[in-house]
């Protein structure tokens, strides 16, 4: 299953990139398509924050990861650089995990 995910993801992602370099420009000039396409990363990345941060299997579970995410929010609000956000979230979460 993991090989399938690896190969199919790689083939599709490369095909999408190549498509962009060969397609006539007018094909993707549709305003609605561009608007939706610009929103898709925001929707999916937001859903991934939820799925990885507060979900286990099919349940919403609030655990040590939420402490890490809370740190990330504060760090991003304070305009901290990306490594600080990620490493700080990991450290916070690990601390809470071990305190339990």
């Amino acid at each position: 299953m993991r090989w399938l995910v690896l190969i199919a993801t790689s083939v599709l992602c490369l095909a999408i990139k190549i498509f962009g370099h060969y397609v006539p420009q007018r094909w993707l000039a549709n305003a609605r398509l561009q608007r939706i396409n610009a929103l898709i990363p925001i929707a999916l990345l937001s859903a991934l924050v939820v799925a990885e941060g507060v979900v286990q299997k099919t349940h919403v579970v609030l655990d040590h990861r939420l402490a890490g995410l809370a740190f990330a929010v504060v760090a991003l609000l304070a305009k901290a650089p990306f490594p600080v956000v990620v490493v700080g979230a990991a450290v916070t979460s690990a601390l809470v995990y071990h305190l339990h």
Partner: protein, 221 residues
């Protein structure tokens, strides 16, 4: 002419190193999701677009089906096609070089290249190729280091990796939320994902959230 590409190269290399270093997080998260070190490295070599890679392994880690992992990763990759449409007329390359330029078309290479437009066409090309190749080298190198490191460290929760992955996604979406409407899209997506989570098989809520983008993007605002 001489000082012009030097600034461009400096910009490109600093972006390459900073961004490439996140490869550590990918390599580690990928191994924690059950992928081997080899598979993790192949991901970075051939998929080579960070958000899609994190999404694919993230869906697998949360117990989702392969189709959901692949579809989520591919949808996150569609923006690279839009970058390609912008970059192709600026790069004007053919054959294998064109395929290589397509593979290197990601957020960072396009971003640096387009920021060089005021410095002229040569700076745009230098910016694109140096950033694309630079990120490629560092991203793959750091993926290997992260994967080997995770193998040595063991239980991901005890050193916080299970929280680092959602923090990566949050850090990726954050700079995109430039106005109130985009913040509404992000919050609506999160609420939607939470609400549908108990009703769908694991991994599916992520791809289902694309609906939020379609509905909110449908009307002119």
């Amino acid at each position: 002419m001489a000082p012009l590409p030097r600034t461009t190269v400096r910009d490109a290399l600093s972006v390459s190193l900073t961004v490439g270093a996140y490869g550590v997080a990918f390599g580690a998260a990928s191994v924690a999701a059950g992928f081997s070190v080899l598979q993790s490295c192949l991901f970075s070599l051939f998929t080579f677009t960070g958000a899609s890679q994190f999404a694919a392994i993230g869906v697998v880690a949360s117990g989702g089906p392969a189709a959901s992992a692949i579809a989520t990763a591919a949808m996150l990759g569609t923006r690279n096609a839009l970058y390609g449409i912008q970059m192709a007329p600026l790069l004007r390359v053919r054959g294998l070089k064109r395929v290589a330029s397509a593979h290197l078309t990601i957020d960072e290479s396009t971003g640096v290249a387009l920021s060089q437009v005021p410095r002229g066409a040569e700076a745009v090309r230098v910016g694109f190729w140096v950033t694309g190749a630079g990120v490629f080298v560092f991203w793959n190198l750091f993926t290997l280091l992260g994967a080997l490191g995770a193998k040595a460290l063991g239980n991901p929760a005890s050193w916080g990796l299970d929280a680092a992955v959602p923090a990566v996604f949050l850090g990726l979406v954050w700079p995109r939320l430039e106005n109130t409407f985009l913040r509404v899209v992000a919050v609506t997506s999160m609420v939607f994902a939470i609400v549908i989570t108990p009703w769908l098989p694991a991994g599916l809520p992520i791809i289902a959230t694309a609906l939020v983008a379609v509905v909110l993007g449908w009307r002119t605002r």
